[in-house]
């Protein structure tokens, strides 16, 4: 990929910046294990347990399960000699292989190793496990293992043009998926369809358009119909076998991946006949989404935004139905948890006082849920923060369509 390619990312430049931060923090070798770190440094999807070892200077080396190592090498910007496969063989299990590799990088085989430790609500986060920590500690005598993930978190906060373009393309693909769902549902097409069927047809349309997979660990494409749209405080709905019925809401939250850039957009429907009360809920939701998108810009914080939006919902009499969170973090595949750095009052949760800066990317994520009436709606869309506004990357029309 050349620098003129819209999806170009300067990975050697990223590594140099990490190495400069390592030097500052007196870290000799960085041992990354989080999925977000692997994506951000390797430009390859690593679905198996994987590690990246970043030396004080020069090219990093990736380690992954042997069955996938050649594919990772093929996808990554690294050459084959910088990707190792590990397996249960003498000298080739992940602890011994990586420890030996690290020792060879250290003068006197001693030094400070940056590791990634912490916690996350996102299951595939990939922090070093307690067992791995103990094994690496034992295998690296004379080395100090220090938690250093902030280096990556800080450097990956502001997105470069290539990353944003990858997200933009993934969002374009998601919009193709939404159009396919709309076309399939309209004119009575919904009859006999199930949530899993809708998830599948969206996936097919997106894959035809180039999506690599429906990347979300929440079951790929999340589809909810009827009462499932309004589960209390709910914002996670893996598709079920439930059949779409007249008179019910339908929530379509689909995901596409393009070169580790992630598309994530929800669109909502009401299946006729629709009651006035259902439209009241729907219009509440549309209005608060529009206001939220108008409000996001550099300089505000998640708590500023939540206060304003909940105030609006309260004035309009629907605050009981709003889940009081309006965003989640996003980055290249594997980065789907907190926004900003781990510097809030609750460790490893978004700092509500995080001040957005231009160039940050987040998922505007809003959930409206009225369980007693079995109705709810969801909005998700990657948005780029600009100095005076936000830019939603998915441009499928913001409506609730009556089918």
């Amino acid at each position: 990929m050349t620098q003129n390619d819209p999806f170009f990312i300067d990975f050697p430049g990223r590594i140099s910046r990490i190495q400069a931060e390592m030097a500052e923090a007196k870290i000799d070798v960085y041992l990354g294990s989080r999925l977000r770190t692997l994506s951000w440094t390797l430009d390859a999807f690593c679905p198996w347990r994987s590690f990246v070892v970043i030396p004080p200077e020069g090219i990093p080396t990736a380690f992954t399960f042997v069955i996938d190592a050649a594919r990772v090498a093929d996808d990554s910007w690294l050459d084959e000699s910088h990707v190792f496969g590990f397996a249960p063989m003498g000298g080739q299990d992940q602890i011994e292989l990586i420890s030996d590799f690290i020792k060879d990088l250290l003068p006197g085989r001693r030094g400070r190793i940056g590791i990634e430790s912490g916690m996350s609500n996102y299951l595939p986060e990939g922090n070093l496990t307690h067992y791995e920590y103990e094994r690496f500690s034992a295998a690296l005598p004379g080395c100090e293992l220090v938690n250093a993930h902030t280096i990556i978190d800080k450097l990956s906060l502001i997105k470069d043009a290539g990353t944003i373009n990858r997200f933009r393309e993934a969002s374009r693909i998601v919009d193709i998926g939404h159009q396919a769902v709309f076309d399939a549902l309209k004119d009575g097409g919904y009859r006999g369809m199930t949530e899993t069927g809708i998830a599948g047809l969206a996936a097919f349309a997106m894959r035809k358009a180039g999506s690599e997979w429906e990347w979300s660990f929440t079951g790929g494409n999340e589809i909810a119909s009827g009462y499932r749209t309004g589960l209390t405080g709910g914002a996670c709905t893996p598709a079920s076998r439930r059949e779409i019925s007249a008179g019910e809401p339908l929530m379509v939250d689909i995901h596409a991946m393009f070169k580790l850039g992630l598309g994530d957009h929800s669109h909502n429907y009401l299946i006729s006949p629709v009651t006035h009360r259902q439209w009241w809920h729907a219009n509440n939701f549309l209005d608060i989404v529009r206001l939220t998108l108008k409000t996001y810009k550099a300089g505000i914080t998640p708590s500023d935004l939540a206060e304003k939006m909940m105030g609006f919902a309260d004035e309009r009499g629907f605050s009981d139905y709003m889940v009081p969170g309006f965003e989640h973090g996003i980055g290249m595949m594997g980065d789907e948890w907190l926004i900003g750095l781990n510097d809030g009052p609750f460790p490893y949760w978004t700092n509500p006082e995080h001040v957005y800066q231009a160039g940050e990317l987040l998922i505007c994520a809003m959930q409206y849920a009225c369980p007693e009436e079995g109705i709810g709606f969801r909005y998700e869309n990657p948005v780029v923060i600009h100095p005076d506004r936000c830019e939603p990357l998915s441009v499928f029309p913001l409506t609730i369509d009556e089918i």
Binding site: V66, E80, S81, G85, G90, G91, D100
Partner: protein, 133 residues
């Protein structure tokens, strides 16, 4: 009756080189360019020894038997003398020895996988040398 040669002696090395060169053509070696050091721990004389193989485009360029630190090689396989001896006698497969931790491989496994069948061919030739262990 064929004369038996003591394993890992200069005579055994010469016989190994002769057999490897005559029985494994560059085609059979997939024209590889690589190198490998087998490190034999606790040999019967109490020392550690190495056997260093180097191939250039499938041709045997070096087969060096020595003591102490071996030359740099793309792959380094370390194990007890007894383990290597059992492999050379065809009593133990090299894959099994690796999988059970009896041998330790240092090197890139992706490349090693490409060479696994070649290593088997090589071991098969070495196992035909009438040797005393």
């Amino acid at each position: 009756m064929t004369e038996q040669i003591r394993y890992l002696t200069p005579g055994w090395r010469d016989e190994a080189e002769m057999r490897l060169k005559s029985e494994l053509s560059p085609e059979r070696m997939n024209f590889i360019t690589s190198s490998m050091s087998n490190i034999y721990l606790d040999c019967p004389d109490g020392k550690d020894k190495y056997l260093f193989f180097r191939f250039e485009k499938g041709l045997f360029a070096d087969l060096i038997l020595g003591e102490g630190e071996p030359p740099d090689a793309e792959f380094r396989i370390t194990g007890q003398y007894e383990t290597f001896a059992r492999i050379s006698k065809a009593e133990l497969g090299s894959q099994r020895a690796l999988m059970t931790g009896k041998l330790k491989l240092k090197g890139n496994m992706i490349k090693a996988l490409k060479l696994a069948s070649i290593a088997d061919r090589l071991n098969k030739v070495l196992s035909t040398i009438p040797a005393v262990y």
